[in-house]
């Protein structure tokens, strides 16, 4: 349990988010372009971080479906900024030794002649350390 508490503290510190501001309206999930692809949706990230139920989030592929489009950040009526929590939980995972979600060696198979450098940079920044 102590370890769980530590996760929560780290996530709150890294993200700067206060999940207690959430009034559970669900608008973040309603506007999320990756909603269908996510096991845990933005509003669940907020609630689960608040309650310290963080390991399921760390194990979920949902971490890699967030597009960082900031729709949930801008459309939250309470300025909770759920995307920052998703980012913080993902960093908790990929900052661990050997936990990169994507490695440079994985990239060539995904590239075609038109792939912009911006895409490779963005994916590496989001998926690996």
């Amino acid at each position: 349990m102590a370890e769980h508490k530590n996760y929560k503290e780290q996530i709150l510190r890294i993200s700067g988010v206060n999940p207690l501001k959430c009034m559970r309206c669900g608008k973040c999930s309603g506007t999320c372009p990756s909603y269908d692809e996510m096991e845990y949706h933005p509003h669940q990230f907020v609630y689960m971080v608040e309650t310290g139920d963080i390991e399921p989030l760390m194990e979920s592929k949902s971490l890699y479906k967030c597009l960082t489009c900031f729709a949930c950040v801008d459309r939250c009526p309470r300025n909770v900024e759920p995307a920052k929590l998703v980012e913080a939980v993902r960093l908790m995972v990929i900052r661990q030794q050997g936990q990169n979600h994507m490695k440079p060696d994985d990239i060539p198979a995904q590239v075609d002649e038109d792939t912009p450098q911006q895409l490779l940079m963005s994916a590496l920044r989001k998926y690996s350390k």
Binding site: T68, Q110, Q118, L120, M121
Partner: protein, 269 residues
């Protein structure tokens, strides 16, 4: 006037049109884009983590150089603009981040530089009237859908370019070059972004929703400032609606090239 300019990695490779036409059009409009010396890649995405410092230093260095030259820093790529503007905001408003970043660079910087997207340069520095006056080849009757995507507008309180849910800057640009803007609901929704690298199905769903909506509202083409939006809409949009860079359209309107024709060919190729 001269402004500092951060082209970014993709504008030197897959999106040369954005870079070349941006410079040529700016010259016609009386602005010289002075490329930042030895600029480094912005990283493509801004990390919202407060303890993520090193990945933002290339932006800090570019911002510091512009400050030292007493110039605004102009970008064309939506991603570079987003990363640099958010970094600048953090340098001005997050003392802990600024202290750590400044310790790396050794050169005190606190967010003094004005960060402008090319569209803001046109609107706020050049002015739409001057753009209109410079148009030699108005795109009269052309129905163009503005595609903002995410990065130009959000987060709204940081990017502060326009109304985040009802923007007009791209529509004003389309009017300035003599064409007719087509407003559609999906214009500020995500194309699928970098997730396309490992989840093509998601990118197809998102990009096709954008293009189908634009086409349904009568757009004959869609304009973007972002190379990743361009890639997703063209590769994953599932629709032959042409997608063009805003600088290419501007170049065509200013009589510098038949840019839309070139882009169409490229779309089909």
């Amino acid at each position: 006037m001269n402004v500092s300019y951060f082209p970014g990695c993709t504008l030197k490779t897959k999106a040369k049109e954005l870079d070349v036409y941006a410079r040529r059009c700016a010259e016609v409009l009386g602005v010289t884009l002075e490329e930042i010396e030895n600029w480094q890649c912005c990283g493509g995405v801004f990390s919202t983590a407060k303890d993520e410092i090193a990945s933002k230093l290339s932006s800090v260095r570019a911002l510091t150089e512009a400050r030292d030259k007493n110039q605004p820093l102009v970008t064309v790529c939506s991603a570079c603009h987003n990363v640099i503007k958010q970094t600048n905001h953090a340098m001005a408003n997050d003392a802990d981040f600024a202290l750590r970043a400044n310790t790396y660079t050794g050169e005190p910087y606190n967010g003094e530089t004005e960060v402008l997207h090319y569209l803001e340069l046109l609107r706020d520095v050049v002015g739409w009237d001057k753009v209109k006056a410079a148009v030699k080849n108005p795109l009269t009757g052309k129905k163009i859908g503005a595609y903002y995507g995410c990065l130009l507008l959000r987060p709204g309180k940081v990017m502060a370019m326009d109304d985040v849910e009802n923007p007009t800057i791209l529509e004003d640009f389309i009017r300035a070059i003599g064409a007719e803007p087509v407003v559609y609901a999906m214009r500020n929704e995500c194309c699928g972004g970098y997730v396309t690298l490992e989840d093509k199905a998601l990118a197809k769903k998102k990009s096709s929703a954008v293009l189908e909506n634009a086409a349904a509202m009568g757009a004959e083409m869609v304009v973007t400032a972002c190379p990743l939006c361009m890639y997703n809409l063209k590769k994953n949009g599932g629709c032959d609606l042409p997608v063009v860079y805003l600088t290419a359209l501007l170049a065509e309107a200013l009589g510098l090239t038949d840019a839309t024709h070139g882009c169409k060919e490229e779309n089909n190729g």
